[in-house]
């Protein structure tokens, strides 16, 4: 720590390196976002409503373009509901009409009833524009760290403690 202050060139290099890592991650995220036309191309599953297909902590890759055909019944979509900030991952079970005005109904595989209750007040269906992507790729479990960290904030403290210990234990 002190040596970094004594050597400004090294400190600056470290700062730049850190900035490079952050900006690379951000660019990859935004690039994927442009390619898939989805505001959030990778999502972590937060609930068990799609079990046994998706568990909490699984990573989903989304695709939001309609090349050959429209989003259709049976696809698993991620959608936003007005007034709720957390997107929902459920399966499309009904579709009435075609195009942007088509009325869509979703349901979680593990839920008994469809999602009418989850929609905004007076809203019986969602539309294509509410959907931020259809699930096309899947990696299990990898996102579980984010769930752990958000549900048990003391883990962040523990991690900081371990990092501090490592710094103390390292010789310059």
């Amino acid at each position: 720590m002190l040596s970094a202050l004594q050597n400004p060139r090294q400190a600056a290099a470290q700062l730049l390196n850190f900035g490079l890592i952050l900006s690379t991650a951000f660019m990859m995220w935004k690039g994927l976002s442009v390619i898939s036309d989805s505001p959030s191309p990778i999502v972590v599953v937060l609930s068990g409503s799609m079990e046994p297909a998706f568990q909490r902590g699984d990573l989903l890759f989304l695709w939001n373009r309609n090349f050959m055909e429209e989003t259709k019944v049976g696809e698993i979509v991620v959608y936003n509901v007005k007034g709720k900030d957390i997107p929902i991952v459920h399966r499309l079970v009904r579709k009435f009409g075609t195009g942007d005005e088509a009325k869509l109904l979703t349901k979680g595989d593990n839920n008994v009833a469809d999602d009418t209750e989850l929609y905004a007040r007076g809203q019986d269906y969602i539309e294509r524009k509410d959907i931020i992507g259809s699930v096309v790729g899947y990696i299990p479990f990898v996102g579980y760290v984010t769930i752990l960290l958000s549900e048990h904030p003391w883990l962040k403290t523990v991690m900081l403690g371990i990092m501090g210990l490592v710094v103390v234990m390292q010789r310059e």
Binding site: P52, A53, Q55, V73, G74, R91, K95, F96, G97, D109
Partner: protein
């Protein structure tokens, strides 16, 4: 590699790389097996009745209750990377009698897990015991992909946003599947052949017409006569 910490970091770093490579290979191995699913579906019985969408609603809508026969062989979809296969039967019908079938609703579905994913099923302990026992010693169980349902009642009734369904013409039932892998791409019933992955053989019922509204008043009469 001079200190324990650096060694641990390096080994863990390379471990994650190996994990991603192997996961990628597993995902690619999906293409090394042929998929040639087939199924036949036919309508057994249809009724259209009036009802309310839920208990507190004052709105009256028409609902179609369908019974169907389904015979399907999806055993070629079960490989080591198959976590589950979601099988669903949908009804499609046109909004007006001359147009394309632009409405689709799932009327029945089921989840077939691989033995590797049995423990994730949301079923009672007795059913779970039976399920696990049925695949004892097997890592995959393609025989689960064979379904033979007779006079199966639909899980979900058909509705329409307009509330009108009776005497709709040109209704068709279709069988679809969705393969959920352990890692990799999710796949649905293909529209065209894709290498060794063939389109569903059959899987579409004959077009049928929904009957006229069933009069409720007739029922008690029937019971007495």
């Amino acid at each position: 590699m001079h200190s324990t910490l650096v060694r641990a970091q390096n080994v863990f770093g390379f471990f994650t790389t190996v994990c991603f490579v192997v996961a990628g290979l597993i995902a690619l191995s999906d293409f090394s097996w042929e998929r040639k699913p087939s199924s036949t579906v036919s309508v057994k019985d249809v009724q259209v009745v009036r009802g309310r969408p839920h208990y507190y609603s004052t709105k009256k809508e028409e609902y179609a209750h369908i019974r169907f026969n389904l015979n399907t062989d999806l055993s070629s979809l079960f490989t080591w990377n198959t976590k589950q296969v979601f099988v669903y039967v949908s009804a499609t019908w046109p909004s007006n009698s001359t147009g394309p079938r632009d409405n689709e609703a799932v009327i029945w579905d089921t989840i077939i897990t691989s033995p590797s994913a049995d423990h994730l099923q949301n079923i009672g302990p007795a059913a779970m015991k039976k399920l696990v026992k049925s695949a004892k010693g097997k890592s995959i169980d393609p025989s689960r992909g064979k379904l033979n349902l007779k006079n199966q009642k639909a899980k979900y009734q058909i509705t329409s946003p307009t509330g009108k369904l009776a005497e709709t013409d040109d209704v068709v039932l279709k069988v679809h599947y969705n393969v959920q892998p352990w890692v990799g791409m999710l796949t649905w019933t293909p529209q065209v052949d894709f290498g060794g992955w063939k389109t569903m053989k059959g899987g579409v019922s004959k077009a049928f017409t929904l009957p006229a509204l069933k009069k409720k008043k007739e029922e008690p009469k029937k019971a007495t006569s």
